[in-house]
């Protein structure tokens, strides 16, 4: 218990989390502090490239066997399964429409790369190692949840479905963040430690600092959304945003233990399962489920679940994984 609290305090008082808090507070106070859109996108490209590349290098170093394939498969199943649970819970506890509930469910099945990045950065700080291929698992978990949500909608016969819409599947699978994550993972894998030696003062050294600025921006965006839309979310929905990560996390933990992942790898699978998408899924929802209200899913994912995971969730997940896996 003490260990968890210490880990939580270390985590909450890290420059990364405090930067997020600064952004959140600035937005709530209506400061005009803002990060230009182009800069935010560039930072996110950097983080995706760096995390993917490092994952690939670590796979090149340690080699992979069937465990990679198993982990990928497990990730896909998790991502596809979690929306059903999320949807069922939302339909019971909240008054969200079928469409809004399915849209929210898709976000929780999919993953948030920046939560994954924050999680691996916390593991690094704590000196806990993890499987490099978890990056590939992250990429594999982005899309399946969207399909589950669309299937849920089509089954309930709600109108306006667009799942079979022209090019949507291609768009989801070739989403920029998936392509960059997988691509840089492969590059890291091919070039291995020599490749890393060439660019480590770019992908390793400034990584946490860049993450601070990116989290500052995430805080600004989350705070802005929270300020304008918090009133829109009813209490059960907000509670869902705090409890669903724990439910997803438990599934992730069980899967991680069953797969025999290291403690760090299991922690990351928990983080992935517990996190909610804020890039790929919202854009796909605007195309496929235009009637779903973006204020609900964006505020919940970015304004409730992300801060929870970033501050309390990650240390909790690490503690649980260290206790049970590895």
């Amino acid at each position: 218990m003490e260990g968890i609290l210490g880990l939580a305090a270390d985590n909450v008082l890290s420059p990364m989390v405090l930067s997020f808090a600064l952004g959140f507070a600035a937005a709530i106070a209506r400061s005009d502090l803002s990060v230009p859109e182009a800069a935010a996108k560039a930072l996110s490209l950097y983080l995706l490239f760096a995390i993917g590349f490092k994952g690939g290098v670590s796979v090149a170093e340690s080699g992979v066997g069937p465990d990679l394939v198993l982990a990928l498969g497990a990730g896909i199943v998790l991502s596809a399964a979690i929306p059903f649970i999320a949807f069922a819970i939302l339909r019971v506890v909240s008054q969200l429409s079928v469409i809004d509930a399915a849209a929210v469910a898709a976000h929780y099945g999919s993953i948030s790369v920046v939560t994954f990045v924050a999680g691996s950065s916390a593991l690094d700080s704590a000196g806990i190692s993890y499987e490099g291929y978890m990056v590939a698992v992250a990429a594999a978990m982005e899309a399946p949840a969207i399909l589950s949500a669309l299937w849920l909608i089509s089954r309930t016969g709600a109108s306006g479905t667009a799942s079979s819409e022209d090019g949507l599947m291609r768009e989801i699978l070739l989403n920029g963040s998936i392509v960059l994550l997988v691509g840089s993972f492969v590059i890291g894998w091919i070039t291995g430690p020599e490749g890393l030696a060439e660019i480590d003062s770019f992908v390793v050294a400034p990584f946490k600092g860049v993450l601070c600025i990116f989290l500052l921006d995430m805080g600004l965006v989350a705070g802005r959304g929270f300020r304008s839309s918090a009133g829109l979310l009813q209490l059960p929905v907000i509670l869902f945003g705090l409890v669903m990560p724990l439910i997803g996390g438990c599934l992730g933990l069980a899967t991680g233990v069953a797969l025999g992942l290291s403690a760090g790898g299991a922690a990351l699978l928990v983080v992935l399962s517990a996190s909610a998408s804020y890039i790929a899924v919202p854009a796909a929802m605007r195309v496929a489920l235009p009637q779903a209200n973006p204020s609900i899913y964006l505020t919940l994912s970015l304004g409730v679940t992300f801060p929870f995971n970033l501050t309390l969730g990650i240390p909790l997940y690490i503690a649980a994984a260290t206790a049970l896996a590895g």
């Binding site: 859109e37 600004l220 854009a283």
Partner: protein, 103 residues
């Protein structure tokens, strides 16, 4: 200079729908348009701004299309099919153009 009557259609549409709108326009033979960035706005779904956003979901673009008056209905039909269930604004105004053979 000799000018000719034309129409200017301005479509403000969600960024994730941009590609679909462009495809729909090109399908009906509207191959001339220009896309302008949008910083933010307000509508029935509230105020928003692009600042710091990473996802395409929370943004819009403005598509401007200048064309012969007799093509406007075709364009509106095509655009409406894409826009129907989506947020967005379409407006049409009269204008004059040089070099009518281009439109």
């Amino acid at each position: 200079m000799q000018t000719h009557d034309a129409k200017r259609v301005e479509i403000i549409i969600e960024a994730p729908m941009e590609r679909r709108l462009k495809n729909a326009l090109e399908e009906v033979g509207v191959t001339g348009y220009t896309v302008l960035p949008v910083l933010g706005g307000s509508g029935r779904s509230g105020r928003w701004t692009r600042d710091g956003q990473v996802s395409k979901a929370g943004g819009m673009v403005a598509v401007i299309c200048i064309l012969r008056p007799d093509r406007v209905q075709t364009l509106l039909d095509a655009a409406f099919k894409v826009l129907e269930q989506h947020i967005g604004v379409v407006s049409v105004s009269d204008c004059q153009v040089l070099r009518a053979e281009r439109f």
